[in-house]
Chain length 303, copies 2
Amino acid sequence: MRMADRQIAFSGSPLDRADNLRADPAALAGMMNWKARLLLLDGLMPSIGDDGRIAWGTLADAAPDAELVFLGLDRSEGGEKPCFAAVPGRGDASPRMANPQLWSLMANMEPGDLALYGGARSITDWHARHRFCAQCGEPTQIAKGGWQRDCPREEGGCGAQHFPRTDPVTIMLVEHASESGGRLMLGRGKGWPEGRFSALAGFVEPGETIEEAVQREVFEESGIRVHDVSYIASQPWPFPSQLMIGCHSHALNDDLVIDETEMAEINFYSREDVTAALAGTGPFIAPPPHAIAHQLLKWWIEK
Amino acid sequence: MRMADRQIAFSGSPLDRADNLRADPAALAGMMNWKARLLLLDGLMPSIGDDGRIAWGTLADAAPDAELVFLGLDRSEGGEKPCFAAVPGRGDASPRMANPQLWSLMANMEPGDLALYGGARSITDWHARHRFCAQCGEPTQIAKGGWQRDCPREEGGCGAQHFPRTDPVTIMLVEHASESGGRLMLGRGKGWPEGRFSALAGFVEPGETIEEAVQREVFEESGIRVHDVSYIASQPWPFPSQLMIGCHSHALNDDLVIDETEMAEINFYSREDVTAALAGTGPFIAPPPHAIAHQLLKWWIEK
Protein backbone atom coordinates (compact mmCIF):
# COMPACT_ATOMS: atom_id res chain seq x y z
CA MET A 1 0.00 0.00 0.00
CA ARG A 2 1.36 3.40 -0.96
CA MET A 3 1.64 5.81 1.95
CA ALA A 4 0.54 8.60 -0.38
CA ASP A 5 -2.88 6.96 -0.48
CA ARG A 6 -3.38 7.26 3.25
CA GLN A 7 -4.88 10.30 4.88
CA ILE A 8 -2.00 12.27 6.36
CA ALA A 9 -3.36 14.80 8.88
CA PHE A 10 -2.91 18.48 7.87
CA SER A 11 -2.63 17.52 4.17
CA GLY A 12 -5.34 17.74 1.53
CA SER A 13 -6.38 21.38 1.79
CA PRO A 14 -9.39 22.03 -0.47
CA LEU A 15 -8.14 25.52 -1.43
CA ASP A 16 -6.50 26.43 -4.72
CA ARG A 17 -3.51 28.53 -3.60
CA ALA A 18 -3.79 30.49 -6.88
CA ASP A 19 -0.29 31.79 -6.33
CA ASN A 20 -0.26 33.65 -9.64
CA LEU A 21 -2.64 36.15 -8.01
CA ARG A 22 -0.23 36.96 -5.17
CA ALA A 23 2.03 39.08 -7.36
CA ASP A 24 -0.92 40.94 -8.90
CA PRO A 25 -1.90 43.83 -6.58
CA ALA A 26 -4.94 44.74 -8.68
CA ALA A 27 -6.25 41.17 -8.60
CA LEU A 28 -5.65 40.96 -4.84
CA ALA A 29 -7.46 44.25 -4.21
CA GLY A 30 -10.29 43.11 -6.45
CA MET A 31 -10.79 39.97 -4.35
CA MET A 32 -11.15 41.90 -1.10
CA ASN A 33 -14.87 42.39 -1.50
CA TRP A 34 -18.12 41.20 0.08
CA LYS A 35 -17.68 37.73 -1.40
CA ALA A 36 -14.34 37.20 0.36
CA ARG A 37 -14.26 34.91 3.38
CA LEU A 38 -12.19 35.47 6.52
CA LEU A 39 -11.08 32.45 8.54
CA LEU A 40 -12.22 33.22 12.08
CA LEU A 41 -9.35 32.76 14.51
CA ASP A 42 -9.08 33.61 18.19
CA GLY A 43 -5.39 34.47 18.18
CA LEU A 44 -4.13 31.28 16.57
CA MET A 45 -7.02 29.11 17.84
CA PRO A 46 -9.69 27.92 15.39
CA SER A 47 -13.35 28.83 15.80
CA ILE A 48 -15.83 26.00 15.27
CA GLY A 49 -19.37 26.67 14.04
CA ASP A 50 -22.59 24.95 15.11
CA ASP A 51 -22.19 22.54 12.18
CA GLY A 52 -18.84 21.37 13.54
CA ARG A 53 -16.95 23.01 10.66
CA ILE A 54 -14.30 25.72 10.97
CA ALA A 55 -16.04 29.08 11.04
CA TRP A 56 -15.75 31.82 8.41
CA GLY A 57 -16.74 35.47 8.51
CA THR A 58 -16.27 38.38 6.13
CA LEU A 59 -13.42 40.85 5.84
CA ALA A 60 -15.54 43.20 7.98
CA ASP A 61 -14.74 40.88 10.91
CA ALA A 62 -11.03 41.74 10.72
CA ALA A 63 -9.57 44.67 12.68
CA PRO A 64 -9.28 47.77 10.45
CA ASP A 65 -5.47 47.66 10.57
CA ALA A 66 -5.15 43.86 10.33
CA GLU A 67 -2.61 42.34 7.96
CA LEU A 68 -4.46 39.90 5.69
CA VAL A 69 -3.04 36.73 4.15
CA PHE A 70 -4.58 35.39 0.93
CA LEU A 71 -5.03 31.66 1.57
CA GLY A 72 -6.43 30.79 -1.85
CA LEU A 73 -9.68 30.26 -3.72
CA ASP A 74 -12.49 28.01 -2.50
CA ARG A 75 -14.35 26.43 -5.41
CA SER A 76 -16.14 23.82 -3.30
CA GLU A 77 -19.57 25.42 -3.76
CA GLY A 78 -19.33 26.05 -7.47
CA GLY A 79 -18.26 29.70 -7.31
CA GLU A 80 -14.82 31.00 -6.56
CA LYS A 81 -14.58 32.48 -3.07
CA PRO A 82 -11.31 34.22 -2.09
CA CYS A 83 -10.24 33.12 1.41
CA PHE A 84 -8.17 35.22 3.81
CA ALA A 85 -6.86 35.04 7.37
CA ALA A 86 -5.81 37.94 9.60
CA VAL A 87 -2.41 38.03 11.30
CA PRO A 88 -2.91 37.91 15.09
CA GLY A 89 -1.32 40.36 17.52
CA ARG A 90 1.17 37.79 18.71
CA GLY A 91 2.41 34.41 17.57
CA ASP A 92 2.91 31.21 19.51
CA ALA A 93 6.18 31.37 21.45
CA SER A 94 6.07 27.68 22.45
CA PRO A 95 4.09 25.82 19.79
CA ARG A 96 4.17 22.41 21.45
CA MET A 97 1.54 19.70 21.55
CA ALA A 98 0.66 20.84 25.06
CA ASN A 99 -2.59 22.67 24.33
CA PRO A 100 -5.36 20.20 25.27
CA GLN A 101 -8.16 22.51 24.11
CA LEU A 102 -6.67 22.81 20.61
CA TRP A 103 -6.11 19.06 20.33
CA SER A 104 -9.67 18.29 21.33
CA LEU A 105 -10.94 20.74 18.67
CA MET A 106 -8.63 19.27 16.02
CA ALA A 107 -9.67 15.70 16.86
CA ASN A 108 -13.16 16.50 15.59
CA MET A 109 -12.25 18.47 12.47
CA GLU A 110 -12.85 17.19 8.97
CA PRO A 111 -9.56 16.42 7.15
CA GLY A 112 -9.97 19.36 4.71
CA ASP A 113 -10.72 21.80 7.53
CA LEU A 114 -7.73 20.53 9.48
CA ALA A 115 -5.41 21.04 6.50
CA LEU A 116 -6.77 24.50 5.83
CA TYR A 117 -6.48 25.53 9.49
CA GLY A 118 -2.96 24.09 9.79
CA GLY A 119 -1.68 25.97 6.73
CA ALA A 120 -3.37 29.22 7.82
CA ARG A 121 -2.00 28.86 11.34
CA SER A 122 1.59 28.35 10.09
CA ILE A 123 1.60 31.40 7.86
CA THR A 124 -0.24 33.81 10.18
CA ASP A 125 1.99 32.74 13.07
CA TRP A 126 5.05 33.36 10.90
CA HIS A 127 3.91 36.94 10.19
CA ALA A 128 3.19 37.57 13.88
CA ARG A 129 6.72 36.50 14.82
CA HIS A 130 8.49 38.21 11.89
CA ARG A 131 7.38 41.85 11.94
CA PHE A 132 10.98 43.12 11.83
CA CYS A 133 13.79 42.72 9.32
CA ALA A 134 16.33 40.13 10.45
CA GLN A 135 18.95 41.86 8.31
CA CYS A 136 18.64 45.44 9.62
CA GLY A 137 16.08 45.47 12.48
CA GLU A 138 13.58 47.87 10.83
CA PRO A 139 9.82 47.09 10.72
CA THR A 140 8.71 45.12 7.67
CA GLN A 141 5.50 45.23 5.63
CA ILE A 142 3.32 42.40 4.41
CA ALA A 143 3.58 41.83 0.62
CA LYS A 144 2.45 39.46 -2.13
CA GLY A 145 -0.85 38.66 -0.45
CA GLY A 146 0.96 37.56 2.70
CA TRP A 147 3.54 35.26 1.10
CA GLN A 148 6.36 37.75 1.59
CA ARG A 149 7.44 40.59 3.91
CA ASP A 150 9.44 43.53 2.60
CA CYS A 151 11.85 45.83 4.40
CA PRO A 152 11.05 49.14 2.66
CA ARG A 153 14.02 51.28 1.60
CA GLU A 154 11.80 54.33 1.42
CA GLU A 155 11.25 54.10 5.18
CA GLY A 156 14.88 53.58 6.12
CA GLY A 157 14.97 49.80 5.68
CA CYS A 158 17.51 47.75 3.73
CA GLY A 159 15.26 46.44 0.96
CA ALA A 160 15.48 42.78 2.01
CA GLN A 161 12.66 40.42 1.14
CA HIS A 162 11.62 37.73 3.64
CA PHE A 163 9.68 34.55 2.94
CA PRO A 164 7.65 32.21 5.20
CA ARG A 165 9.66 29.40 6.73
CA THR A 166 9.08 25.70 6.22
CA ASP A 167 11.59 23.67 8.22
CA PRO A 168 12.34 20.17 6.95
CA VAL A 169 12.50 17.52 9.70
CA THR A 170 13.37 13.87 9.14
CA ILE A 171 11.39 11.32 11.16
CA MET A 172 12.54 7.77 10.75
CA LEU A 173 11.70 4.16 11.35
CA VAL A 174 14.87 2.24 12.21
CA GLU A 175 14.48 -1.49 11.66
CA HIS A 176 16.87 -4.10 13.01
CA ALA A 177 16.67 -7.53 11.43
CA SER A 178 16.67 -10.49 13.80
CA GLU A 179 15.99 -14.21 13.48
CA SER A 180 12.44 -13.72 14.69
CA GLY A 181 11.77 -10.92 12.17
CA GLY A 182 12.49 -7.19 12.14
CA ARG A 183 12.23 -5.10 15.29
CA LEU A 184 11.65 -1.35 15.28
CA MET A 185 13.68 1.12 17.34
CA LEU A 186 11.48 3.70 19.05
CA GLY A 187 12.36 6.32 21.61
CA ARG A 188 10.85 8.24 24.49
CA GLY A 189 12.03 11.84 24.55
CA LYS A 190 13.03 13.56 27.77
CA GLY A 191 9.95 14.97 29.46
CA TRP A 192 7.52 12.74 27.57
CA PRO A 193 4.90 10.79 29.56
CA GLU A 194 5.91 7.38 30.85
CA GLY A 195 5.32 4.69 28.21
CA ARG A 196 4.97 7.05 25.21
CA PHE A 197 7.32 6.02 22.37
CA SER A 198 7.69 7.30 18.81
CA ALA A 199 10.07 7.45 15.87
CA LEU A 200 13.25 9.49 16.30
CA ALA A 201 13.24 12.84 14.50
CA GLY A 202 15.42 15.87 13.85
CA PHE A 203 15.83 18.95 11.67
CA VAL A 204 17.66 18.72 8.36
CA GLU A 205 20.61 21.12 8.60
CA PRO A 206 22.27 23.25 5.92
CA GLY A 207 24.75 21.12 3.98
CA GLU A 208 23.14 17.68 4.24
CA THR A 209 20.78 15.49 2.22
CA ILE A 210 17.66 13.89 3.71
CA GLU A 211 19.50 10.57 3.90
CA GLU A 212 22.52 12.14 5.64
CA ALA A 213 20.24 13.86 8.15
CA VAL A 214 18.57 10.53 8.98
CA GLN A 215 21.92 8.83 9.50
CA ARG A 216 23.28 11.67 11.65
CA GLU A 217 20.21 12.01 13.86
CA VAL A 218 19.88 8.29 14.52
CA PHE A 219 23.56 8.00 15.38
CA GLU A 220 23.51 11.08 17.63
CA GLU A 221 20.49 9.94 19.62
CA SER A 222 21.05 6.18 19.74
CA GLY A 223 24.62 5.36 18.69
CA ILE A 224 23.19 3.18 15.90
CA ARG A 225 24.48 3.34 12.31
CA VAL A 226 21.78 2.97 9.65
CA HIS A 227 21.90 2.29 5.91
CA ASP A 228 19.45 1.94 3.00
CA VAL A 229 17.44 5.02 3.97
CA SER A 230 14.24 5.27 1.93
CA TYR A 231 11.53 7.91 1.79
CA ILE A 232 8.00 6.88 2.80
CA ALA A 233 5.75 9.95 3.10
CA SER A 234 5.68 13.60 4.21
CA GLN A 235 3.43 15.81 6.31
CA PRO A 236 3.07 19.54 6.93
CA TRP A 237 3.13 20.05 10.71
CA PRO A 238 1.84 23.45 11.85
CA PHE A 239 3.57 23.82 15.25
CA PRO A 240 4.95 26.11 13.99
CA SER A 241 5.75 25.09 10.40
CA GLN A 242 7.68 21.88 9.80
CA LEU A 243 7.78 19.61 6.77
CA MET A 244 7.95 16.15 8.34
CA ILE A 245 9.84 13.79 6.01
CA GLY A 246 9.07 10.19 6.98
CA CYS A 247 11.76 7.60 6.16
CA HIS A 248 12.64 3.97 6.78
CA SER A 249 16.15 2.70 7.43
CA HIS A 250 18.01 -0.43 8.46
CA ALA A 251 20.18 -0.63 11.58
CA LEU A 252 23.59 -2.30 11.34
CA ASN A 253 23.33 -3.46 14.96
CA ASP A 254 21.34 -2.90 18.14
CA ASP A 255 24.12 -1.69 20.45
CA LEU A 256 22.47 1.40 21.91
CA VAL A 257 24.43 4.40 23.19
CA ILE A 258 21.60 6.68 24.23
CA ASP A 259 22.02 10.48 24.15
CA GLU A 260 20.68 11.23 27.60
CA THR A 261 20.39 14.96 26.95
CA GLU A 262 17.61 14.24 24.41
CA MET A 263 16.20 10.78 25.08
CA ALA A 264 14.80 9.16 28.22
CA GLU A 265 14.62 5.62 26.76
CA ILE A 266 15.09 3.79 23.47
CA ASN A 267 13.72 0.26 22.94
CA PHE A 268 13.30 -2.24 20.13
CA TYR A 269 9.78 -3.52 19.52
CA SER A 270 8.53 -6.51 17.52
CA ARG A 271 5.78 -6.48 14.92
CA GLU A 272 3.42 -7.90 17.55
CA ASP A 273 4.37 -5.15 20.03
CA VAL A 274 3.73 -2.37 17.49
CA THR A 275 0.46 -3.96 16.33
CA ALA A 276 -0.75 -4.15 19.93
CA ALA A 277 0.36 -0.58 20.69
CA LEU A 278 -1.59 0.76 17.69
CA ALA A 279 -4.63 -1.13 19.03
CA GLY A 280 -4.11 0.49 22.43
CA THR A 281 -3.11 -2.75 24.16
CA GLY A 282 0.64 -2.77 23.59
CA PRO A 283 3.75 -2.53 25.70
CA PHE A 284 4.01 1.18 24.83
CA ILE A 285 1.70 4.10 24.03
CA ALA A 286 1.78 4.76 20.25
CA PRO A 287 1.91 8.27 18.76
CA PRO A 288 -1.55 9.77 18.08
CA PRO A 289 -3.19 9.40 14.63
CA HIS A 290 -2.50 13.06 13.74
CA ALA A 291 1.26 12.41 13.85
CA ILE A 292 2.98 11.00 10.79
CA ALA A 293 4.79 8.60 13.15
CA HIS A 294 1.45 6.84 13.70
CA GLN A 295 0.99 6.37 9.95
CA LEU A 296 4.60 5.20 9.58
CA LEU A 297 4.01 2.52 12.24
CA LYS A 298 0.86 1.39 10.42
CA TRP A 299 2.79 1.27 7.15
CA TRP A 300 5.46 -0.88 8.80
CA ILE A 301 3.13 -3.51 10.23
CA GLU A 302 1.27 -3.75 6.91
CA LYS A 303 4.29 -3.94 4.62
CA MET B 1 20.55 2.02 -9.79
CA ARG B 2 19.80 3.84 -6.56
CA MET B 3 20.21 7.59 -6.78
CA ALA B 4 21.61 7.56 -3.24
CA ASP B 5 24.66 5.78 -4.65
CA ARG B 6 25.48 8.60 -7.01
CA GLN B 7 27.62 11.54 -6.07
CA ILE B 8 25.28 14.42 -5.39
CA ALA B 9 27.26 17.68 -5.39
CA PHE B 10 27.41 19.47 -1.99
CA SER B 11 26.66 16.21 -0.13
CA GLY B 12 29.15 13.94 1.64
CA SER B 13 30.85 16.39 4.00
CA PRO B 14 33.73 14.62 5.79
CA LEU B 15 33.08 16.49 9.09
CA ASP B 16 31.34 15.01 12.11
CA ARG B 17 28.89 17.76 13.12
CA ALA B 18 29.26 16.63 16.76
CA ASP B 19 26.10 18.52 17.59
CA ASN B 20 26.16 17.40 21.22
CA LEU B 21 29.07 19.81 21.71
CA ARG B 22 27.07 22.83 20.53
CA ALA B 23 25.07 23.06 23.75
CA ASP B 24 28.17 22.65 25.91
CA PRO B 25 29.85 26.07 26.36
CA ALA B 26 32.82 24.61 28.22
CA ALA B 27 33.48 22.06 25.47
CA LEU B 28 33.13 24.76 22.79
CA ALA B 29 35.55 27.06 24.61
CA GLY B 30 37.95 24.16 25.08
CA MET B 31 38.04 23.51 21.33
CA MET B 32 38.99 27.10 20.48
CA ASN B 33 42.69 26.45 20.83
CA TRP B 34 45.79 26.24 18.63
CA LYS B 35 44.62 22.92 17.16
CA ALA B 36 41.39 24.45 15.84
CA ARG B 37 41.14 25.13 12.11
CA LEU B 38 39.47 28.14 10.54
CA LEU B 39 37.99 27.79 7.04
CA LEU B 40 39.53 30.66 5.09
CA LEU B 41 36.83 32.63 3.32
CA ASP B 42 37.01 35.91 1.43
CA GLY B 43 33.55 37.14 2.36
CA LEU B 44 31.62 34.07 1.23
CA MET B 45 34.14 33.02 -1.42
CA PRO B 46 36.35 29.99 -0.81
CA SER B 47 40.14 30.22 -0.72
CA ILE B 48 42.03 27.51 -2.59
CA GLY B 49 45.52 26.43 -1.54
CA ASP B 50 48.45 25.48 -3.78
CA ASP B 51 47.40 21.83 -3.46
CA GLY B 52 44.01 22.62 -4.99
CA ARG B 53 42.21 21.97 -1.70
CA ILE B 54 40.12 24.49 0.26
CA ALA B 55 42.44 26.45 2.51
CA TRP B 56 42.44 26.43 6.32
CA GLY B 57 44.08 28.75 8.82
CA THR B 58 43.97 29.05 12.58
CA LEU B 59 41.58 31.01 14.80
CA ALA B 60 44.26 33.75 14.86
CA ASP B 61 43.30 34.46 11.24
CA ALA B 62 39.80 35.58 12.29
CA ALA B 63 39.05 39.19 13.17
CA PRO B 64 39.14 39.69 16.96
CA ASP B 65 35.40 40.39 17.12
CA ALA B 66 34.38 37.75 14.54
CA GLU B 67 31.43 35.48 15.25
CA LEU B 68 32.63 31.88 14.90
CA VAL B 69 30.53 28.92 13.77
CA PHE B 70 31.54 25.42 14.90
CA LEU B 71 31.35 23.32 11.71
CA GLY B 72 32.30 20.01 13.31
CA LEU B 73 35.24 17.70 13.95
CA ASP B 74 37.68 16.59 11.28
CA ARG B 75 39.01 13.09 11.99
CA SER B 76 40.46 12.58 8.50
CA GLU B 77 44.06 12.68 9.72
CA GLY B 78 43.64 10.43 12.74
CA GLY B 79 43.26 13.16 15.36
CA GLU B 80 40.18 15.22 16.05
CA LYS B 81 40.49 18.76 14.74
CA PRO B 82 37.69 21.23 15.59
CA CYS B 83 36.71 23.22 12.48
CA PHE B 84 35.26 26.73 12.50
CA ALA B 85 34.22 29.43 10.06
CA ALA B 86 33.89 33.16 10.70
CA VAL B 87 30.72 35.07 9.85
CA PRO B 88 31.49 37.64 7.13
CA GLY B 89 30.56 41.31 7.38
CA ARG B 90 27.78 40.93 4.89
CA GLY B 91 25.83 38.08 3.33
CA ASP B 92 24.92 37.45 -0.28
CA ALA B 93 21.90 39.53 -1.25
CA SER B 94 21.43 37.79 -4.61
CA PRO B 95 22.81 34.26 -4.31
CA ARG B 96 22.28 33.18 -7.89
CA MET B 97 24.38 30.99 -10.13
CA ALA B 98 25.70 34.12 -11.79
CA ASN B 99 29.16 34.23 -10.18
CA PRO B 100 31.51 32.78 -12.82
CA GLN B 101 34.57 32.98 -10.56
CA LEU B 102 32.88 30.90 -7.84
CA TRP B 103 31.64 28.32 -10.33
CA SER B 104 35.06 27.89 -11.84
CA LEU B 105 36.53 27.35 -8.35
CA MET B 106 33.81 24.89 -7.43
CA ALA B 107 34.24 22.92 -10.67
CA ASN B 108 37.71 21.91 -9.49
CA MET B 109 36.93 21.13 -5.85
CA GLU B 110 37.01 17.62 -4.42
CA PRO B 111 33.50 16.39 -3.49
CA GLY B 112 34.23 16.50 0.26
CA ASP B 113 35.63 20.03 0.05
CA LEU B 114 32.63 21.14 -1.98
CA ALA B 115 30.21 19.73 0.63
CA LEU B 116 32.11 21.32 3.48
CA TYR B 117 32.30 24.70 1.73
CA GLY B 118 28.61 24.61 0.77
CA GLY B 119 27.46 23.87 4.32
CA ALA B 120 29.78 26.51 5.80
CA ARG B 121 28.66 29.06 3.22
CA SER B 122 24.96 28.47 4.00
CA ILE B 123 25.31 28.90 7.73
CA THR B 124 27.73 31.85 7.75
CA ASP B 125 25.59 33.63 5.15
CA TRP B 126 22.52 33.02 7.35
CA HIS B 127 24.23 34.69 10.31
CA ALA B 128 25.36 37.64 8.19
CA ARG B 129 21.76 38.25 7.03
CA HIS B 130 20.10 37.59 10.43
CA ARG B 131 21.84 39.83 12.94
CA PHE B 132 18.54 41.28 14.22
CA CYS B 133 15.52 39.70 15.87
CA ALA B 134 12.64 39.24 13.43
CA GLN B 135 10.21 39.32 16.34
CA CYS B 136 11.28 42.60 18.02
CA GLY B 137 14.01 44.22 15.88
CA GLU B 138 16.77 44.16 18.54
CA PRO B 139 20.29 42.89 17.78
CA THR B 140 20.80 39.15 18.34
CA GLN B 141 23.80 37.19 19.57
CA ILE B 142 25.33 34.02 18.19
CA ALA B 143 24.68 30.96 20.40
CA LYS B 144 25.15 27.17 20.48
CA GLY B 145 28.36 27.26 18.49
CA GLY B 146 26.64 29.14 15.67
CA TRP B 147 23.56 26.91 15.31
CA GLN B 148 21.28 29.44 16.98
CA ARG B 149 20.92 33.19 17.54
CA ASP B 150 19.40 34.58 20.72
CA CYS B 151 17.59 37.86 21.33
CA PRO B 152 18.83 38.65 24.86
CA ARG B 153 16.22 39.86 27.36
CA GLU B 154 18.93 41.36 29.56
CA GLU B 155 19.73 43.81 26.75
CA GLY B 156 16.16 44.79 26.00
CA GLY B 157 15.35 41.96 23.58
CA CYS B 158 12.34 39.67 23.63
CA GLY B 159 14.09 36.39 24.42
CA ALA B 160 13.29 34.74 21.05
CA GLN B 161 15.58 32.02 19.73
CA HIS B 162 16.30 31.85 16.00
CA PHE B 163 17.58 28.89 14.01
CA PRO B 164 19.31 28.60 10.61
CA ARG B 165 16.96 28.18 7.68
CA THR B 166 16.83 25.25 5.31
CA ASP B 167 14.16 25.80 2.67
CA PRO B 168 12.69 22.69 1.06
CA VAL B 169 12.28 22.95 -2.72
CA THR B 170 10.70 20.28 -4.92
CA ILE B 171 12.34 19.69 -8.31
CA MET B 172 10.55 17.23 -10.50
CA LEU B 173 10.76 15.12 -13.59
CA VAL B 174 7.38 15.03 -15.34
CA GLU B 175 7.02 12.08 -17.69
CA HIS B 176 4.32 11.75 -20.31
CA ALA B 177 3.76 8.30 -21.74
CA SER B 178 3.39 8.06 -25.52
CA GLU B 179 3.36 5.25 -28.04
CA SER B 180 7.03 5.79 -28.80
CA GLY B 181 7.99 5.72 -25.10
CA GLY B 182 8.00 8.29 -22.31
CA ARG B 183 8.86 11.91 -22.96
CA LEU B 184 10.12 14.30 -20.30
CA MET B 185 8.74 17.79 -19.74
CA LEU B 186 11.50 20.35 -19.21
CA GLY B 187 11.31 24.10 -19.00
CA ARG B 188 13.37 27.20 -19.70
CA GLY B 189 12.85 29.85 -17.03
CA LYS B 190 12.43 33.50 -17.91
CA GLY B 191 15.83 35.11 -18.28
CA TRP B 192 17.67 31.81 -18.81
CA PRO B 193 20.05 31.50 -21.78
CA GLU B 194 18.55 30.34 -25.06
CA GLY B 195 18.44 26.53 -25.25
CA ARG B 196 18.97 25.85 -21.52
CA PHE B 197 16.25 23.54 -20.14
CA SER B 198 15.84 21.90 -16.74
CA ALA B 199 13.31 20.29 -14.43
CA LEU B 200 10.59 22.52 -13.00
CA ALA B 201 11.07 23.45 -9.34
CA GLY B 202 9.42 25.39 -6.54
CA PHE B 203 9.41 25.94 -2.79
CA VAL B 204 7.31 23.71 -0.54
CA GLU B 205 4.87 26.01 1.28
CA PRO B 206 3.43 25.80 4.78
CA GLY B 207 0.45 23.42 4.75
CA GLU B 208 1.43 21.03 1.96
CA THR B 209 3.19 17.68 1.56
CA ILE B 210 6.07 17.13 -0.87
CA GLU B 211 3.68 15.39 -3.25
CA GLU B 212 1.15 18.24 -3.06
CA ALA B 213 3.89 20.79 -3.71
CA VAL B 214 4.99 18.88 -6.83
CA GLN B 215 1.43 18.73 -8.15
CA ARG B 216 0.78 22.41 -7.46
CA GLU B 217 4.04 23.69 -8.95
CA VAL B 218 3.73 21.63 -12.13
CA PHE B 219 0.14 22.74 -12.63
CA GLU B 220 0.93 26.41 -11.95
CA GLU B 221 3.83 26.53 -14.37
CA SER B 222 2.61 24.22 -17.14
CA GLY B 223 -1.12 23.57 -16.72
CA ILE B 224 -0.33 19.83 -16.52
CA ARG B 225 -1.84 17.57 -13.84
CA VAL B 226 0.53 14.92 -12.50
CA HIS B 227 0.00 11.78 -10.44
CA ASP B 228 2.11 8.99 -8.88
CA VAL B 229 4.71 11.37 -7.48
CA SER B 230 7.73 9.49 -6.16
CA TYR B 231 10.85 10.65 -4.34
CA ILE B 232 14.20 10.07 -6.07
CA ALA B 233 17.00 11.91 -4.22
CA SER B 234 17.81 15.12 -2.35
CA GLN B 235 20.58 17.71 -2.36
CA PRO B 236 21.65 20.58 -0.12
CA TRP B 237 21.99 23.69 -2.31
CA PRO B 238 23.96 26.53 -0.75
CA PHE B 239 22.59 29.55 -2.68
CA PRO B 240 21.57 30.41 -0.03
CA SER B 241 20.32 27.28 1.74
CA GLN B 242 17.80 25.06 -0.01
CA LEU B 243 17.05 21.37 0.43
CA MET B 244 16.36 20.23 -3.14
CA ILE B 245 13.90 17.32 -3.11
CA GLY B 246 14.09 15.48 -6.45
CA CYS B 247 10.92 13.67 -7.55
CA HIS B 248 9.46 11.85 -10.53
CA SER B 249 5.81 12.11 -11.62
CA HIS B 250 3.50 11.10 -14.46
CA ALA B 251 1.59 13.63 -16.56
CA LEU B 252 -2.07 12.96 -17.32
CA ASN B 253 -1.75 14.76 -20.68
CA ASP B 254 0.54 17.10 -22.60
CA ASP B 255 -1.78 20.07 -23.09
CA LEU B 256 0.52 22.88 -22.01
CA VAL B 257 -0.76 26.15 -20.53
CA ILE B 258 2.52 27.91 -19.82
CA ASP B 259 2.79 30.45 -16.97
CA GLU B 260 4.51 33.21 -18.90
CA THR B 261 5.42 35.17 -15.77
CA GLU B 262 7.81 32.35 -14.77
CA MET B 263 8.62 30.27 -17.84
CA ALA B 264 9.94 31.22 -21.27
CA GLU B 265 9.38 27.78 -22.85
CA ILE B 266 8.32 24.26 -21.90
CA ASN B 267 8.99 21.30 -24.20
CA PHE B 268 8.71 17.51 -24.13
CA TYR B 269 11.88 15.58 -24.91
CA SER B 270 12.41 11.92 -25.80
CA ARG B 271 14.91 9.57 -24.20
CA GLU B 272 17.15 10.11 -27.24
CA ASP B 273 16.94 13.89 -26.87
CA VAL B 274 17.87 13.77 -23.17
CA THR B 275 20.70 11.30 -23.78
CA ALA B 276 22.12 13.56 -26.48
CA ALA B 277 21.74 16.69 -24.31
CA LEU B 278 23.67 15.06 -21.46
CA ALA B 279 26.40 14.23 -23.98
CA GLY B 280 26.47 17.85 -25.10
CA THR B 281 25.01 17.13 -28.53
CA GLY B 282 21.30 17.40 -27.84
CA PRO B 283 18.46 19.65 -28.88
CA PHE B 284 18.82 21.53 -25.58
CA ILE B 285 21.54 22.47 -23.09
CA ALA B 286 21.29 20.18 -20.04
CA PRO B 287 21.69 21.45 -16.46
CA PRO B 288 25.31 21.34 -15.18
CA PRO B 289 26.57 18.30 -13.21
CA HIS B 290 26.49 20.19 -9.90
CA ALA B 291 22.70 20.53 -10.15
CA ILE B 292 20.51 17.67 -8.94
CA ALA B 293 18.48 18.12 -12.15
CA HIS B 294 21.48 16.76 -14.07
CA GLN B 295 21.54 13.63 -11.88
CA LEU B 296 17.76 13.24 -12.21
CA LEU B 297 18.06 13.29 -16.00
CA LYS B 298 20.81 10.66 -15.82
CA TRP B 299 18.62 8.54 -13.51
CA TRP B 300 15.76 8.80 -15.99
CA ILE B 301 17.67 7.67 -19.05
CA GLU B 302 19.20 4.75 -17.11
CA LYS B 303 16.02 3.50 -15.43
